[in-house]
Point group: D2
Chain length 141, copies 4
């Protein structure tokens, strides 16, 4: 199933419809966008950091949700607006080094109503896995 | 085990050490604080809302993490700084009505190294359960 | 929404269709069955015990899945056969005392396609919460 | 960190200490055992099957817990007896084809007190991912 929107088209939609996801100081960049996989990079702003300069847990959870939504938008265009997150689970494995982090998403189920994605969050500084997450999305009819 | 800090003392610490958790437009209020249970109320700011005025999923996840941390600080004072979230799981059950939401936390395990809390997020407008969460915290030595 | 089957009718169906759930040595008893809530009691057999006589983790996970299925059958009769578990999460809080345990289920969402249940597993011996679980079921069309 | 026990030594221990995990009709086989990764194969017995011959959800949850425990035993020998599962989450993605399934475990954190493993359950018949799981183990002191 080919993607229907490019990363630029997804961001154009987000800027218009969900400006708070791209608010000041939240700097997401899509570095890979394929039908089953996407990589989204975050250079965290002050509000997303903890003392010591590491990205906060809530910023990582927001990043997981955001990154999956980007891929759903690339697949379904505006119709993905109907997608709702039903479950999200995350394990925090180690504090990331100060610096950018990358969310690597893989769709492990992409059904008519339910989509499940697995997300690895990697520190770009040392390549280590800092968090592991899985989330389910429901697209009603 | 009695609490060592009041809500005011907890917030004083947070304002000094984690100012980004209490950044502009994020209005948390502790409405109940007991050894096993706490209620934290959020009047969401613009950045935490979705179209239609409902609180966003990421804002609810941040609220879960924040609320449990408040209770850990009330128990352990500065030492809770060493607590790290190891797992967080959340189910989103229904979109909240526009308006305040309340996180009702209950400690279901409070061990020497591991603490587990269950969190109900309730819409203050209609009293409905909008999300159910559970998180685990590790306090090293 | 009133229940359509009694506990006896549910077990009659299970004995015919899922005999392995009620195999030798697995002794479930429904002690409460209401539209939003059910209590299921287990006197574990040898295969479900760990050294020391405590119920094993896998036996508790099976009990969670079984108990929710009992309530779905009571609601939907044979049609619940189409229900599939999509997610199950469990936290093990403390080892149960040797003796019976009870799963207390509460439906926190019962929608047309998705049902979410929260389950407390309690030791009957000392009344303590030994595990906390949440599971989601999908009933397709 | 090299493994201290072979698969045979692990099973010898299990047969003596946890015979119910290897009860009649539960046929696990370790097909790969490395410090960070293990593959465990299951030819399910009657009690682990659902109508249609597919492996049941509870059998897969038991398999996840069992497989991780095998790897912990290979690492820590009898001392792994002190390991307790603290959390386990699983998503069921599709019904497996009738036939053997394989649990592919990867340790994503192996700390002094907490170990986190991610488990893919694959149908050997068609190679498809049927379930995705993650579990946390605590080894006290």
């Amino acid at each position: 199933m080919a993607l229907k929107w490019s990363a630029d088209e997804v961001f154009e939609f987000l800027r218009a419809e969900f400006p708070q996801a791209l608010r000041d100081g939240v700097n997401y960049e899509v570095v890979k966008l394929e039908p089953e996989e996407a990589h989204v990079r975050l250079v965290a702003g002050d509000q997303q950091l903890r003392p010591g300069g590491t990205v906060s847990g809530p910023a990582m959870m927001e990043m997981v949700d955001f990154s999956i939504y980007v891929l759903l938008l690339a697949h379904h265009k505006e119709a993905a607006r109907l997608a709702v997150t039903t479950n999200l689970a995350i394990s925090f494995l180690r504090k990331p080094q100060p610096g950018p982090i990358v969310a690597q998403i893989r769709l492990i189920k992409h059904g008519r109503t339910l989509t499940v994605a697995r997300v690895d969050i990697i520190s770009e500084v040392d390549g280590k896995l800092v968090a592991s997450s899985e989330a389910t999305y429901f697209m009603g009819n």
